[in-house]
Symmetry: C2
Subunit: 466 residues, 2 copies
């Protein structure tokens, strides 16, 4: 028989999975909406030239390419590709619709992206990103709002202990320059430095050496980080540690751009004081972020006892210019839905109502001639806002009860000949085993009482998926 | 500069587009949930052998194929492909997780599919389907529930005049056989017959001739349809037209399978009597449906004054068997989101609140030193459930008001030095131009009064997108 598993690195989401994912997405989208961000969606498929050259060589290799239809197919030519992130499509959209968008365009976008990475635990080839970006302003208000929104989203999902690590590309460049790392090795040094909290000082030292950074420069750089934090593994500088900030400031004293970067960070931290990000921000000069397009502040959210991050972002004032010609200031933050889900599942952070019940009530089928009556009864209950399943066949009642229980349906409505004669319907509560008859006219209310579903909430129809 | 438009036949959805789409999706998903269907999601990308050979030659040609990574790429080999519909992935899922799914698996799935069709007005290469399927039962209760759910979804969206056309593949095969259409030409005859309501009797007659159907058989077939309905263009047989049903029954008298098909249709119509599909169903023997995999009842929703359909479906008892080996009975219905959106847009069927307002309130920025205070005020209002934007720069107030008005934001909060000194905040209503100051402690309540947003609804956070 044909293979039935999903493609490598991809996943099917069964109903409980979808409900968990939709819950997290709705919390995040709800927060983004309250921050004045508007929803945007772009196609899964982009023209291949839109994507190539935006993510570096490694990125280009990981882009899924779509074969041309017709003639080009035999030659193996590709003209389209699958979306690799949500930032490059946003930059394209800003260039394409510049006349129609507001001067400050604040959008959120929650859609899947695809990367032909080697699949491994927690890393997939199809995964969702939850991005929020503000286009058109250089104000540090933008970065503060991004940090506040991300922090509020995580807090509302139940995360209690997390830190927003904050750094600045210009500060970073200044620290490398001041330590004597030659300009052409700064990119490689950044990649090594980014691992300081993961692999430790000695391993980073070895990697800097491997990459050709002169020993004196590497030592000067690592020495700086030693002085900034108590240990390399937890190198984050607590905001307000005046000594650490003074150390940084002294080091880049002769470099105006780096000093401006440091001042920008101080402003962002100050602006966050009255927001949900208050007390979460840590200036961390070892944070580098992989992507090449960042130009200013960069940030990443770290959770206690968890390697890797739940999301990150930064300012990228020149990416839109790659599409538009003119630069347009921009900054954004991306929460990683898959990692958030992994942590929430491991730590049991989902509300209990999310799983289990496929319906509130199941209407049983007494006999074949009672089918129309069963469907009509289901229709009445649905009109009253209840989620109602109908057993499709006239099987033994015991079998029908067992089926409902297995699906997690708490209540069963039985419409037998006796009940019909008396104008009643029997309710069986599968949780207690209790059964009693109620007049048909009051059935929906009786069921709702047992479920404790208020009429309005039920009638509005929960849409766990969209 | 780089090209900035989306790929051919694909669309970007700006905020108002996303809100309209999310509204329709949430109404449909809400109805499906009330019918006891559970959400399922499958990957956009499938192994290519999962899709090939399931949709006919024409379908295979329209599948977007993904180039192999590494070696196969140079040879133009494809190992993956983009989802072409939601039914084949469902059949794969049923086979893959058969031990984990309930005996009757009722799922809905609302996701995009991709087809390399020639783009034209209202036809795209990326489009959403809203599918609902019930696996595991041969009961006509299943078809009745599918018709009822689709009819209720359209009714809740505001469609008043639509018809569920109903036919049966076995009845259709019997009618062709009884008219003398040879077995090997029945597929071709079905394709021609399916166009009866679109191109009329004469054109169908010509097409049957072109396809090699003997003139006597074609005449007998078309003669039957003349007798069934008042005109070929509106050939639907009104249910209860005893004469029409007797005509059909007589024609297939000697064909037990076709008679069983007709009886099945009568049962489905009877079961719909107490549901939202009541009075909508019309048995229409000219309905054929393009897909090869249908085995029983087929249906399609037609809207008055609209060519084409808003959705369709049917019973397909052998598709799961292509993956599983053993046949599993199944039936489903798919609503076409894009057509629904086109009609709703043309006819102005969206609720007015869906478009325009990016936020409820915008907090202005008085001067650079007031930025932290503005962010803190925004935070208070967000915590009270309001959607709040903050103007990022200390521009002239008039410019800030103009910007808010252009984004459709109805209210602006002004926190100037005077207001701060008095413990007040000024509210400007951009709809009336009116401005007045309120104590800061009552600001959220005052804004909500003006917006007429109840606290609970605001605080729960509308998530228009998921």
């Amino acid at each position: 028989m044909t293979v039935t598993h999903p493609a490598r690195g991809m996943r099917d989401f069964l109903p409980d999975d979808v409900r968990r994912r939709a819950y997290v997405v709705s919390v995040i989208a709800g927060v983004y909406e309250r921050y004045g961000f508007e929803p945007l969606e772009t196609p899964a498929v982009e023209n291949i030239e839109t994507l190539l050259g935006k993510y570096g060589d490694e990125g280009d290799r990981l882009i899924f390419k779509i074969l041309k239809r017709g003639e080009g197919a035999e030659r193996g030519e590709a003209d389209l590709a699958l979306r690799y992130d949500l930032t490059v499509p946003l930059a394209r959209v800003v260039a394409e619709y510049r006349g129609m968008l507001p001067r400050f365009f604040k959008r959120y976008q929650i859609q899947p992206v695809w990367r032909a990475d080697r699949p491994q635990r927690g890393r997939y080839r199809e995964f969702y990103q939850c991005d929020v970006d503000a286009i058109g302003s250089r104000s540090p208000v933008v970065e503060a709002e991004l940090c506040a929104a991300a922090a509020e989203a995580l807090t509302r999902l139940g995360f209690a202990t997390f830190t927003v690590r904050l750094n600045h590309r210009q500060l970073l460049a200044g620290l490398l320059e001041a330590s004597g790392v030659p300009g052409d090795l700064q990119g490689a040094a950044l990649v090594a430095l980014d691992k300081l909290d993961k692999i430790g000082r000695d391993a980073v030292s070895g990697e800097l050496d491997d990459r050709g950074v002169p020993p004196a420069a590497a030592a000067s750089l690592l020495d700086l980080f030693d002085r900034l934090g108590p240990a390399a593994g937890t190198s984050a500088v607590a905001v307000g540690t005046d000594e650490a900030l003074r150390t940084l400031s002294d080091r880049v004293a002769g470099l105006p751009e780096a000093r401006a970067g440091l001042e920008n960070l101080a402003e962002i931290v100050a602006l966050c004081a009255g927001t949900p990000a208050a007390g979460r921000i840590r200036i961390d000069p070892s944070l580098a972020r992989g992507l090449a397009y960042y130009t200013g502040a960069i940030m990443e959210i770290a959770v206690t006892d968890l390697a890797g991050s739940l999301g990150g972002g930064g300012r990228y004032d020149r990416l839109v210019g790659m599409f538009l010609g003119d630069d347009v200031p921009a900054a954004g933050f991306s929460l990683g839905l898959e990692r958030i889900l992994v942590v929430m599942t491991e730590r049991g952070m989902f509300p209990p109502h999310l799983t289990g019940a496929a319906a509130d009530v199941m209407v049983t089928l007494w006999n074949t001639s009672g089918r129309a009556a069963a469907l009509a009864l289901a229709g009445e209950l649905r009109a009253a806002g209840l989620r109602v399943d109908v057993y499709p066949d006239a099987d033994r009642l015991g079998k029908q009860f067992k089926y409902a229980a297995a699906r997690g349906v708490p209540l069963v409505a039985v419409l037998g000949d006796d009940e019909v004669a008396r104008g009643e319907v029997a309710i069986k509560d599968l949780r207690s085993g209790e059964q009693h008859a109620v007049p048909r006219a009051t059935l929906a209310a009786a069921l709702r009482d047992r479920l404790a579903v208020p009429p309005a909430a039920g009638a509005s129809g929960a849409a766990p998926h969209a």
